[in-house]
């Protein structure tokens, strides 16, 4: 048996530090929103000319008077991703860019993907993304509250906040792009982290009924150990699937799978080191469960 409970204090301090650092990052550095949430134009293009590179593209775009833009390589040798902040959704904006590009660089370009999001739509998408995440947290809180006691509900929700905030903090730290698929990833993280916490909580409750003389501090440790191999195996298979998406699933899914990988790692960690110490702090005991049984 591993004594997880010996490190409750230490890891709680570390988590607290990470959460505070993440919040500071979110406040001062902010998130790198993609065109979905900020509006603007995204073009994924493939050139058939080997001489065309980021520098020459950047030069060519800077002559087009499009305001702030960003050019980067995207996967393949000749694939590039261009993001333009100017919100021009007029019918021929893309055609004009294509013509300008060909006239300044020659050759031909294949616009493999074009996304053009107007300011109104982007702010609506952002709003509905935030609502979706808030709603899912509320729904989880409610579900755990009816399935367990409020102490468990609080523990689970704090673990969720911990995971979501740290994942977003890492996205801020590395300036990774936040787009619609990241919202999907965050929601899935919420589901996964909850799932992991619930399995341990389920065992804690069972053990509270089974052992009438063991204090919660010890009891959480027993429960964590009993479910440990499941926790490890499930995290491992989920991570295997996610790493496979990250490595082979193409450029478009990279951000999504990366967010999920971070989320699974933190979700697994938090269901041990956030969810359980909270039960200890809240002095959960056999009595907590008893009230439920007599109802």
């Amino acid at each position: 048996m591993i004594n997880f409970n010996k490190f409750y204090k230490l890891f709680n301090l570390i988590s607290l530090g990470l959460v505070v650092a993440s919040i500071l990052l979110l406040f001062f550095k902010g998130l790198n929103f993609g065109v979905d949430f900020k509006g603007g134009t995204l073009i994924e293009l493939r050139s058939n000319d080997k001489n065309i590179n980021v520098t020459s593209l950047r030069q060519s775009f800077s002559q087009m008077n499009l305001g702030d833009f960003n050019v980067k390589k995207f996967g393949n040798e000749n694939d590039f991703l261009i993001k333009i902040e100017k919100k021009d959704t007029s019918a021929n904006a893309i055609e004009v860019i294509k013509k300008d590009l060909i006239s300044s660089l020659g050759g031909s370009f294949n616009f493999r993907r074009v996304e053009n999001v107007g300011p109104k739509v982007s702010s609506e998408l952002l709003k509905s993304g935030i609502i979706a995440i808030a709603l899912s947290l509320a729904a989880m809180l409610f579900y755990i509250w009816i399935r367990f006691e409020w102490q468990f509900s609080l523990g689970a929700i704090l673990a969720l906040f911990h995971d979501v905030i740290i994942t977003l903090g890492l996205f801020s730290l590395f300036s990774l792009e936040i787009n619609l698929s990241i919202v999907a990833a965050v929601l899935t993280i919420v589901g996964y982290s909850m799932n992991d916490t619930v399995v341990i909580y389920d065992r804690v409750r069972e053990n509270l009924r089974k052992f009438s003389d063991i204090k919660i501090y010890e009891l959480t440790n027993i429960s964590i150990n009993e479910t440990l191999s499941r926790t490890i195996i499930t995290s491992a298979t989920t991570l295997l699937a996610l790493v496979s998406i990250y490595l082979f699933g193409g450029e478009i899914l990279k951000g999504f799978s990366l967010a999920m990988i971070m989320g699974v790692v933190f979700g697994t960690y938090s269901s041990i080191y956030i969810a359980n110490p909270i039960l200890v702090k809240l002095r959960v005991s056999q009595k907590t469960i008893l009230t439920e049984d007599t109802e």
Partner: protein
């Protein structure tokens, strides 16, 4: 508990076969396939264009206010009521009348049969809200009046958009309403939406009006620019003909001038009016005005009574074709703005499918190998379950002809990773029970019973996330929530029906074995 009836085994077997068949029918030639159902590929996988259009209702509202103002003027004149200062101000109509007439005019506006201020029974509201201060009337469009304007212009716009898209001839376009002032257009397989975008961006409001030098024209005049933007002309506001009078329009080569023109045919009313106008107006210039710009202003040479005519104006064959198409499909009630566009080329779509399939295969393989090394025989059972689960998932998506997107594929891969969880929970529990319980069969049963709550709780949490994502997410992300949610059900089914049966059979055969798992 460890007895599985023959009926149950057969049933599970056939259900499994059924879904495997559906799943595999996706890979068959649709012509030779017995079942023609297949998974729809989202625009991000098959390539295509997604356009979200917003109707700019402001001009419609202003038009409505102008029309009502005219109606009110005519009404007050007919009732011989002296009115003052009738005008439109900040989107309201204001006027003042003598105090003694206030009552009768008010009654007229609030009459449920009122022609000027229609009453909507379904909303229990008039089109206009009327405020009266002393003898001053202020009419503003009511909440439902605005809704009525929006929905009716949305209906009309939808029809026109459909006609225009159909004329261009893309395969299986999807054109639907969004909210009360938006239209969503999905064009599968279209990798360059340029032409459609420019066609949808035009209102195509066509009018024929005389060019005039007389500023005091009874109908009023306005200065309009020519399409080339170089020159302008004063045009009467009196409309001789508009687009609604057109029966047909076609691009044509004019043999004499070698110029591309758009020839048109007018309906009976239009032909009559056109004949009358040309007979009185020989020698005058007739401006052909499209969306507030003069396309051309030919001088009338002779009476045109046939109802056929030509529009010339520096057209290329393409632009003449487009103009003819716009004229045939009719004018939009209001301008449309493209507020969101997402286009994926077909080659990128294919690349995404390939990458998705490779990631799925590798992910699946990694999980299978891992499970086999961890649990041996039980791992094998989990793996068989996983494979069947995959067939179930794809089979159900096929059965409902769901739309598969790239995030949807990610959802399938993720399901592969998470689906083993239920089996792991059960196996671990059986393992624990085996330590206390000598009888393998009892240990097996207790393992299943005791792990149930954890499995259900764990899956419901994921389901909650998926459902919220389904309702809040858009487009490709929705596809992810669908596969994730369906994956939860197929996982539970395969774990409790297939894996349970297989483990059961194995445990019964090895009841005496000391180290079962």
């Amino acid at each position: 508990m460890l007895y599985f009836s023959k009926l149950r085994i057969t049933l599970v077997f056939f259900v499994t076969l059924f879904f495997i068949y559906f799943a595999l029918s996706n890979f068959q030639d649709p012509e030779n396939s017995f079942i023609s159902k297949r998974i729809n590929l989202g625009l991000d996988l098959q390539g295509g264009s997604y356009l979200l259009l917003e109707i700019d209702n402001e001009p419609v509202e202003i038009q409505k206010l102008q029309n009502t103002t005219t109606d009110i003027r005519n009404f007050l004149k007919s009732k011989k009521i002296n009115f003052n200062d009738l005008r439109i101000q900040d989107k309201t109509i204001v006027f003042t009348i003598p105090i003694m007439d206030v009552g009768s005019v008010e009654a007229f506006f609030l009459d449920k049969e009122s022609e000027i201020n229609p009453y909507y029974n379904q909303y229990k509201s008039h089109q206009f809200d009327v405020i009266i201060e002393d003898s001053k009337f202020t009419l503003s469009l009511s909440k439902y009046g605005l809704i009525e304007i929006k929905t009716s212009s949305q209906d009309q716009a939808l029809e026109i958009v459909r006609r225009r898209v159909d004329e261009v001839g893309t395969n299986e376009p999807n054109i639907i309403k969004r909210g009360n002032n938006r239209i969503l257009v999905e064009l599968p397989g279209l990798d360059d939406p340029m032409r459609i975008k420019s066609l949808l961006g035009k209102t195509a409001n066509l009018t024929f009006r005389f060019v005039t030098q007389n500023k005091n024209d009874t109908f009023g005049t306005e200065m309009l620019q020519f399409e080339d933007g170089m020159s302008e002309a004063m045009v009467s506001k009196r409309i001789i003909l508009n687009g609604e009078n057109l029966l047909d329009a076609q691009p044509q080569m004019n043999n004499q001038t070698n110029e591309t023109v758009v020839s048109f045919t007018l309906d009976r009313v239009g032909a009559k009016r056109f004949g009358k106008a040309t007979s009185t107006g020989v020698g005058k210039q007739l401006a052909i005005v499209l969306d507030g710009k003069i396309v051309s202003a030919p001088t009338i040479q002779s009476v045109i009574a046939s109802g056929n005519g030509q529009i010339s104006g520096n057209f290329t064959f393409q632009s003449a074709t487009d103009l003819a198409l716009l004229l045939r499909s009719g004018a939009l009630p209001a301008p449309l703005n493209i507020i969101e566009e997402r286009t994926v080329g077909p080659d990128l779509g294919q690349d995404s499918i390939n990458a998705g399939v490779i990631a799925l295969m590798i992910g699946f393989l990694l999980v299978i190998i891992f499970m086999f090394f961890k649990y041996k025989i039980f791992g094998l059972i989990a793996n068989i379950t996983l494979l069947v689960n995959l067939f179930f998932l794809v089979g159900i998506l096929t059965l409902f002809e769901a739309t598969l997107t790239l995030p949807g594929i990610a959802g399938i891969i993720l399901t592969v990773g998470m689906a083993v969880d239920a089996n792991v929970l059960i196996f671990e529990r059986i393992k624990e029970e085996c330590k206390k319980e000598k009888n393998n069969i009892i240990a097996f049963d207790t393992g299943y019973v005791k792990s149930k709550t954890a499995i259900i709780d764990a899956n419901i949490t994921t389901l909650i996330a998926a459902v919220i994502l389904f309702f809040m997410g858009s487009g490709p992300v929705k596809g992810f929530s669908v596969t994730l949610a369906v994956g939860i059900f197929t996982t539970l089914f395969s774990v409790y029906f297939i894996a349970r049966m297989l483990t059961g059979l194995y445990v019964v055969r090895n009841k005496e074995k000391t180290k079962l798992i």
